[in-house]
């Protein structure tokens, strides 16, 4: 965590007012308490960011390995193959060739790591921790110690997940959904330890991650309710704060049923119970010695009860980040702030009653199916409202295309593609064909990869000056952006084709041995399309190098900037950069809404939330209200 130390210890000489009570305990803390076991929301946010980014890179690396096997099945992986064999033990990559088991491990862990150790920690915990208290003008989170516990629970959970790669038998292989009964009977017997095996560690790691999310969610909600600055009423909150609030509620209420399910699966694995094990289960020709009487469908219900709200956990913080950046760089108020807020609330609410659309193939009855198809279609309405509001916000703005804005603008069509391609999947009849094909992969990756992850990059470029007092390099930012955007589309667009050929997402040989994958579409067979996809994935890996270098280089050597380099309006820019322990020199008071850009009668084109109302403002409000009617 060396980086985080620099990020926050960097002091501006003139910016450290000690007359505030933020001073005293600040100086007594030793290095460990200040940077490692810190209770300061900014340090914790940065810890989350760095750890989460490392996990994102790791999860991406797993996928780059899988892409080799998909493009060139059975061929030995040059250079890295032998190294990997030494790292994760024999049996994973004999002679550099990937075994099916190792391939399955990579697939399961790619999903798990990307979602639960990468995106959620960065989108929710890192940005939420760093930005939310600053945006609401609070000195810290309401429960700083719980905040620290949340990070460390996450950290240990991540370590447990990583350790599972190195235990005999390797990491979990049941997919990120861990469907039963497969995930109960896997990783057992033979070389597998009864406890230190991939799937059991996956479950244990998950309990820790859920604990972390739970502690974080309680803290976020309480903070947003209790510590808003004076005058910062609900309808003056930046949209980012709203997005984080809804996300926190989703984590708070959707995760516990999965925790219950995970405890039950642990019982099934360790205690040989039959929560998810049906009567008369036969494996490899032999009846399994269990009581039976359980239901695999029960696992699916409980899993997707979390799983669907989780989708909005992934996307809402991204939307929040994009909203801030769009308003800032179009230099005009966000269009339809109220609709955005209510759309986010409705989205959160509805996300709890659509989960069974992940389970069409379980063969549900027509009434149940009709119910979930209806709710699924309804939930697309708030998403469309949010996306439309962002697009309309661009209209007529004098847009500044800096790096954060490039990523934020790219988010819009990418999320749009991801969202719209989901509509066919919401229909039972279409989904029966497309289920578990590459079409589904392309659909949700468009939402989380060029969608959420682009939003995360945008956020990192945007708030970097607040954390360090320096700006990331613009040129290298653009070198990062353009190849990433192109590669993302080269990777995921052809997957729609593959999916429509009915290529299954879990094929170990990339489809080579399947007739349907050898049909030609646009010049290449479904199987051959794997080669450009894989190549694009590896190029995208290279395209992240400028970002990594830019990130670390800019901490020390980036262009020094003032406290509000983007001329933004929200309260975090009223704090010094980097903000000291306790954040604000003078506790801020909010006098206006979050996005008062280009307010008539003002000499500057942005008016910060803590600037008092003047007569010219009242005239401007009156004129705007009159124009409305």
């Amino acid at each position: 965590m060396d980086v985080s130390t620099d990020l926050v210890s960097h002091h501006h000489a003139g910016h450290h007012p000690h007359q505030h009570d933020s001073g005293h305990d600040h100086h007594e803390l030793g290095w460990w308490r200040k940077y490692v076991f810190s209770t300061d929301h900014k340090v914790i946010g940065i810890q989350y960011l760095i750890t989460g980014l490392i996990f994102l890179l790791l999860g991406f690396t797993l996928m780059m390995l899988m892409r080799w096997q998909l493009a060139f099945p059975g061929r030995s992986l040059p250079l890295i193959g032998n190294l990997l064999e030494r790292a994760v033990g024999p049996g994973a990559m004999p002679d550099g060739r990937m075994t099916p088991d190792f391939y399955n491990s990579l697939g399961a862990m790619h999903g798990t790591i990307m979602i639960f150790l990468g995106i959620v920690p960065v989108a929710f915990a890192a940005f939420g921790n760093f930005v939310v208290p600053l945006q609401i003008g609070a000195p810290d989170m309401t429960f700083p110690k719980i905040n620290m516990a949340s990070y460390w629970a996450f950290f240990v959970g991540g370590i447990v997940m990583l350790v599972s790669f190195f235990v005999p038998g390797g990491a979990a292989k049941g997919g990120w959904t861990s469907y039963t009964p497969l995930s109960v009977i896997t990783d057992k017997g033979g070389i597998h330890h009864w406890f230190f095996n991939g799937q059991t560690l996956w479950l244990v790691g998950f309990i820790l991650l859920i604990t972390s999310s739970l502690l974080g969610a309680v803290n976020f909600i309480t903070t947003i309710i209790q510590l808003r600055a004076k005058g910062l009423t609900w309808m003056r909150l930046p949209f980012f704060v709203w997005a984080q609030l809804v996300t926190a509620f989703l984590l708070l209420l959707a995760f516990p049923p999965l925790e219950a399910a995970i405890v039950m699966q642990l019982m099934d694995r360790i205690g040989a119970t039959s929560f998810f094990m049906p009567t008369g289960l036969v494996v490899n020709g032999a009846a399994v010695a269990i009581s039976g009487g359980g239901s695999p469908i029960l696992w699916q219900h409980l899993f997707w009860f979390l799983g669907h709200p989780e989708v909005y956990v992934l996307i809402l913080p991204g939307m929040g980040i994009v909203a801030e950046i769009i308003a800032n760089n179009t230099r005009k108020p966000l269009w339809g702030y109220k609709s955005l807020v209510f759309a986010a609330l409705v989205l959160g609410f509805l996300s709890f009653i659509v989960w069974a659309h992940h389970m069409w193939l379980t063969g549900m009855g027509s009434v149940v199916s009709a119910f979930f198809q209806t709710t699924t279609l309804i939930i697309s309405i708030p998403s469309v409202i949010i996306l439309s509001a962002f697009f309309i916000s661009l209209w007529g703005g004098s847009i500044r295309f800096n790096t954060p804005m490039l990523f934020a603008t790219a988010f819009l069509p990418m999320f749009g593609i991801g969202g719209l391609t989901g509509i066919p999947l919401s229909f039972n009849s279409a989904d029966l064909y497309l289920h578990d094909t590459y079409y589904v992969i392309a659909h949700f990756h468009y939402i989380v990869a060029p969608g959420t992850i682009f939003a995360l990059f945008a956020g990192i470029y945007y708030w970097f000056p607040k954390a360090t007092g320096r700006r990331m390099n613009e040129f290298w930012g653009k070198v990062h952006f353009w190849p990433s955007l192109i590669c993302m589309n080269v990777i995921f667009l052809p997957m729609f084709l593959q999916g429509m050929l009915s290529m299954h997402r879990r094929w170990y040989d990339g489809g080579q041995g399947w007739n349907i994958a050898n049909e030609k579409v646009w010049g290449l067979s479904g199987f051959q399309w794997n080669v450009p996809i894989s190549a694009a994935a590896w190029v995208m890996g290279l395209a992240q190098i400028p970002f990594i270098i830019n990130f670390f280089w800019s901490i020390k050597r980036g262009e020094k900037v003032n406290d509000n380099p983007w001329q933004a309006t929200t309260l975090e820019w009223a704090a010094p950069s980097p903000p000291p322990h306790g954040n604000f020199a003078v506790t801020p008071v909010a006098h206006r809404g979050p996005y008062e850009y280009s307010l008539p009668g003002r000499e500057r084109d942005f008016t910060m939330q803590n600037e008092p109302i003047r007569d010219s403002d009242r005239e401007a409000y009156a004129a705007a209200a009159a124009a409305h009617h």
Binding site: G231, S295, H301, A356, V589
Partner: protein, 127 residues
């Protein structure tokens, strides 16, 4: 909610809006008698809960015709008990608006969760 009581705390927000808050249960020493008055109530509710426990046990051995009926009766008594604990011991009979809002959401989502068991029962294929 003690809505009728006078707001004892008033927050004046910068641009002139006046927002009324409630602070009637502020932890002040003058509410000692207020708390003392509750002690008997707590004891009484404790007694009631014990009584209902006995009742649940007794009713479970009474034949209501079908087992489903026994289930229903048992759950009704349990819900009454749970309601007493929540209302009196957990002070939900006089809590802030905000807590109710959080709980309303939770109740909705927990109902959604139980809805899945209904689905399972309803769905002829997995039955």
């Amino acid at each position: 909610m003690n809505e009728t009581q006078q707001p004892t705390a008033t927050e004046v927000i910068a641009d002139g809006h006046v927002k009324a808050g409630h602070a009637q249960e502020e932890p002040m020493h003058d509410d000692h008698s207020h708390v003392a008055a509750h002690v008997n109530k707590y004891l009484m509710v404790g007694g009631l809960l014990l009584l209902f426990t006995g009742l649940t046990v007794f009713l479970s051995y009474v034949d209501f015709g079908t087992h489903k009926m026994n289930m229903a009766v048992g759950m009704v008594v349990a819900t009454i008990k749970a309601g007493l604990v929540a209302m009196i011991f957990m002070h939900l009979n006089a809590e802030r608006q905000l807590i109710y809002r959080i709980l309303v959401f939770t109740v909705f989502f927990v109902l959604a969760l139980f809805f899945l068991t209904y689905l399972h029962w309803y769905d002829p294929i997995s039955r």
